[in-house]
């Protein structure tokens, strides 16, 4: 099989970036984000991005980097606190935001990746989120129709992958990465370590290689957003 493995984030993104494209990104806060791919997109200067991502990073890290360079036209997220530049651009009308409830966003990504163009949910009924959406009753309860997301490109981060792209995530760094990977027409994955085929147990794989089109081993800062600790018990 032609190798999925590329030497660098820039090489892995070569030919995949176009102004105005839609992007799905994995990660929750700064946990499990595709740091290397974000940096490569910044360097490529791709403009007018619409980004599906639960969060928008912080000012100088994560997707915040692409906000600073004004490469993002619209964010579709559930939570964008922790980012002053975001707030500034939004309140100045320079950036669009579509708020999605977190679970709705995750399910929209999975649905898009699974060939499901729409599903009904109770989440958001009676709120701003429901405005303009189809309402339908099932068994006496009201639900709204939410659409599956198919993004031009998914950028995601895993812990380890074998050469065919089968990958495993580590603890809560899994988060949005699998649904984001699924919803990309093309998915580029960065991992901490590429291991030979045969290293990973087939029962441990969180995301089968079929979802991964290109793969790089990256360097990861893995910044902690809220360092909280307790006293060691004596």
């Amino acid at each position: 099989m032609a190798s999925k493995i590329y030497d660098s984030a820039s090489a892995a993104l070569d030919g995949l970036l176009t102004d105005g494209m839609t992007l799905a990104a994995g990660g929750f806060g700064l946990c499990g984000i595709p740091e290397n791919l974000i940096a490569a997109i910044r360097d490529a200067g791709t403009k007018d991005l619409t980004v599906y991502s639960n969060n928008a990073g912080v000012d100088d890290f994560g997707l915040g980097v692409l906000l600073q360079t004004r490469q993002v036209k619209k964010m579709c997220s559930s939570y964008v606190g922790e980012n002053d530049e975001f707030m500034r651009q939004y309140l100045a009308g320079e950036l669009e935001i579509e708020f999605n409830p977190q679970g709705t966003l995750a399910e929209r990504m999975r649905a898009g990746g699974c060939g499901i163009p729409g599903f009904y949910t109770k989440t958001g009924v009676g709120t701003q989120v429901a405005e303009g959406k189809e309402h339908k009753d099932f068994d006496g309860e009201t639900y709204i129709l939410e659409r599956g997301i198919v993004a031009d490109l998914a950028i995601v981060k895993a812990w380890k992958a074998d050469e065919t792209g089968n990958c495993i995530f580590r603890k809560t760094a899994r988060n949005f990465n699998p649904p984001a990977a699924m919803c990309g027409k093309i998915c580029v994955m960065e991992v901490e370590e590429i291991v030979p085929n045969g290293t990973l147990d087939g029962d441990h794989i969180h995301l089968p290689g079929i979802y991964v089109h290109r793969l790089i081993q990256g360097q990861h800062e893995k910044r902690i957003e809220q360092r909280t600790t307790r006293k060691k018990e004596a």
Partner: protein, 208 residues
């Protein structure tokens, strides 16, 4: 004497039963975990963890183990991890027995507003809309009044809603209230808080 933050959390912990799966919001709700005593409560963190442990001791922080507030935490010997779609499948599917959340405003019919102040605070709802729509029981912890003294328990919310008719019980520094037909029923008052004082500080209809 009104309850302080810790007393509110302690009171909220009484709502939880042994064996329950529970989601705690950011802020005072997080403190509830300190008061569950002998009860075996399993905490779900909506970023993909069931069985959340305490904060790590210094030096043991792991960037890959955080809670929904992005704080470093630890795992237990029965922790399971999963992706966000699965996590909210659990929440939306009614598998979580209870959520304890903060509030900006609650209305007497159980509407909750806790995610946005138009033109001022634009952070987003995170997982709150999913939680109030999906979990078995929604318990709100909030100060009874805002810092400026305004009522937070209202006839109708003025802020954009997180969910409509979703709150079951409210715990404030002044007492405990259930959302019932016709308004809020007083379940309990904090020590030395009088019903007269409560009525003065509450806009929502209070029923006996």
């Amino acid at each position: 004497m009104p309850w302080d933050r810790n007393q509110m959390a302690e009171r909220a912990a009484q709502e939880l039963e042994d064996g329950m799966y529970v989601n705690l919001g950011i802020g005072i709700p997080t403190l509830v975990a300190n008061y569950t005593g002998d009860k075996d409560i399993t905490l779900q963190s909506e970023n993909g963890m069931l069985g959340m442990g305490p904060f790590p001791v210094e030096g043991d922080e792991d960037a890959d183990v955080i809670n929904a507030g992005k704080q470093t935490i630890t795992e237990l010997n029965r922790t399971a991890y999963f992706d966000s779609a699965t996590s909210f499948g659990m929440i939306r599917g009614g598998k979580i027995a209870a959520a304890i959340l903060g509030a900006m405003e609650v209305s007497e019919n159980g509407d909750l507003a806790n995610w946005m102040i138009p033109g001022k605070l634009v952070k987003g709802m995170g997982g709150a809309m999913d939680l109030v729509a999906g979990v078995g029981r929604v318990i709100v912890i909030t100060d009874h009044n805002s810092k400026s003294g305004a009522a937070k328990l209202l006839k109708e919310c003025t802020l954009p809603l997180t969910g409509k008719a979703v709150v079951d019980r409210i715990i404030t520094n002044l007492g405990v209230f259930d959302v019932v037909e016709g308004g809020l029923r007083i379940v309990e008052l904090a020590p030395d808080v009088t019903e007269a004082e409560l009525r003065e500080k509450t806009e929502a209809t209070l029923v006996a």
